[in-house]
């Protein structure tokens, strides 16, 4: 099989541009998704069942439908309502954030609920308020446990951002598909995209490992 490096070279600037957009989409998705996820996770843990219900259903909806459908719906139906026109970047960030928020919420809840009840009781008996106990005792321990599943979620998010190619957001996969469409060759564009995605996820993995080690207590 002939592998045409010249085609990759020709598309290299576009792959670079696409990679930057992919990183932008992923970072925005991770940041907004985490913030929103924390909020929704807390909402789901509320003691009053009725108040927790909307948060519960938020998670059900976004975790229970394919991201591809969410991206199409948000791009063609939701964003035009607010902006009056479609905007692929806005739609991609919105879909990725809303989707990852549902997963982050559950990770957050699992992290907090995994901390032994005795920790809260001990903190309260020392005279801390519920909020103080959360901030100084429960959360520091919970966050440590949340890092591996959060890392998992972020890696999935980077890979899933490739679905934004569907709505012509000019990210990495979009240029891969454009190159494929032009030359009708599968190996060069998709292998290049795969290698770049691998580099992105491995870098994130490396970063998370360092954070994990820094937070290790033993």
């Amino acid at each position: 099989m002939d592998f045409r490096w010249d085609l990759i070279w020709e598309y290299a600037p576009l792959f670079l541009k696409g990679t930057l957009v992919t990183i932008g989409l992923s970072v925005a998705g991770i940041v907004f998704g985490s913030v929103l996820g924390l909020f929704i996770g807390l909402g789901k843990m509320m003691r009053k069942k009725l108040w927790a219900l909307p948060f519960n259903w938020y998670i059900n909806c976004f975790r229970g439908t394919p991201l591809m459908v969410q991206i199409l719906l948000i791009h063609f139906a939701v964003v035009p309502v607010f902006l009056g026109t479609t905007n692929a970047i806005v739609a991609a960030i919105l879909a990725l954030s809303l989707n990852s928020a549902a997963y982050v919420a559950e990770i957050f809840r699992a992290g907090i609920q995994s901390i032994d009840k005795g920790q809260m009781e001990a903190a309260r008996s020392l005279g801390m308020t519920h909020g103080q106990a959360m901030r100084f005792v429960i959360l520091p321990q919970a966050i440590k446990r949340m890092i591996p599943p959060l890392g998992n979620e972020f890696i999935v998010l980077i890979k899933d951002s490739s679905l934004a190619a569907l709505i012509a957001a000019p990210e990495l996969m979009y240029w891969g598909r454009a190159m494929q469409g032009q030359y009708m060759r599968p190996w060069e564009p998709y292998l290049t995209a795969a290698v770049i995605y691998l580099v992105l996820t491995l870098s994130l993995n490396f970063l998370l490992n360092r954070i994990e080690r820094r937070l290790a207590t033993e």
């Binding site: 026109t85 692929a88 012509a168 032009q182 060759r185």
Partner: protein
Amino acid sequence: MKKLKLVSTVLMVAFLLLLSACGTTKTGGEKKTLRVVTDAAYAPFEYQDKGEVVGFDIDFVKAVIKEAGYGVKVEHVGWDPIFVEIEKKTADLAVSSITITPERLESYDFTVPYFLSKNEILVPKGSSIKSAKDLEGKRIAVQNGTTGQTIVEKLFGKNNEKLKKFENNNLAILELKKGGVDAVVADNTVVETYVKNNPKDNFEFIEDDGAFEKEFYGLLLPKGSKLKADLDKAVNKVLDNGTYEKLYEKWFNTKPDIKVLKDQQ
């Protein structure tokens, strides 16, 4: 342990049977069955009617292959996989309104042309766009990998910012409907069918024969395919004996210009 052995033996036998089944479709004597792949999402050329692949292209390819003396099996695989299947020779030929272009001829073979097509511009009624030249500076949507994309890139630069490439024409047209672009460039049949079927959208189509050249569809074959000679002969027969005209009228309600196709050979 014994159970495990039994299971693995059964699996092995099943696997071998599967392999040999794959083998027989490829070898066999005179009356071999050709595997035709298509992207059945392009009405009225090829689309799925309750799960069955139908359309003008499908009727046509069946007529041609019958003429050439083979059996035929059509399968919907999607646009990109078509080219992989043909390159890897896991399919014998593909039909999917595939335009014959010099770029594609670098990696594939085509039969003689069997269909004449050209691109048109789809815009909302009352748009300031009246010809291909007016597209300058406008946001345009196309289907990725189509000749519509090639033409727009030739006019306004490759991979320029204002060009959005979508997975298919339906998404591109939806983008126009939602105001994300000012125009869609696509094949005349797609554009005209859409305008006709969706009068409520208030779209109109613009022809520009000066800017948009004639295009010809061909049956896609692997490079150096031995079938080419047989199929070329069969395509010409179908063009000559009236079958083509009959199918064309059935699907498009007009008469084809067979002479243009013949001149192109």
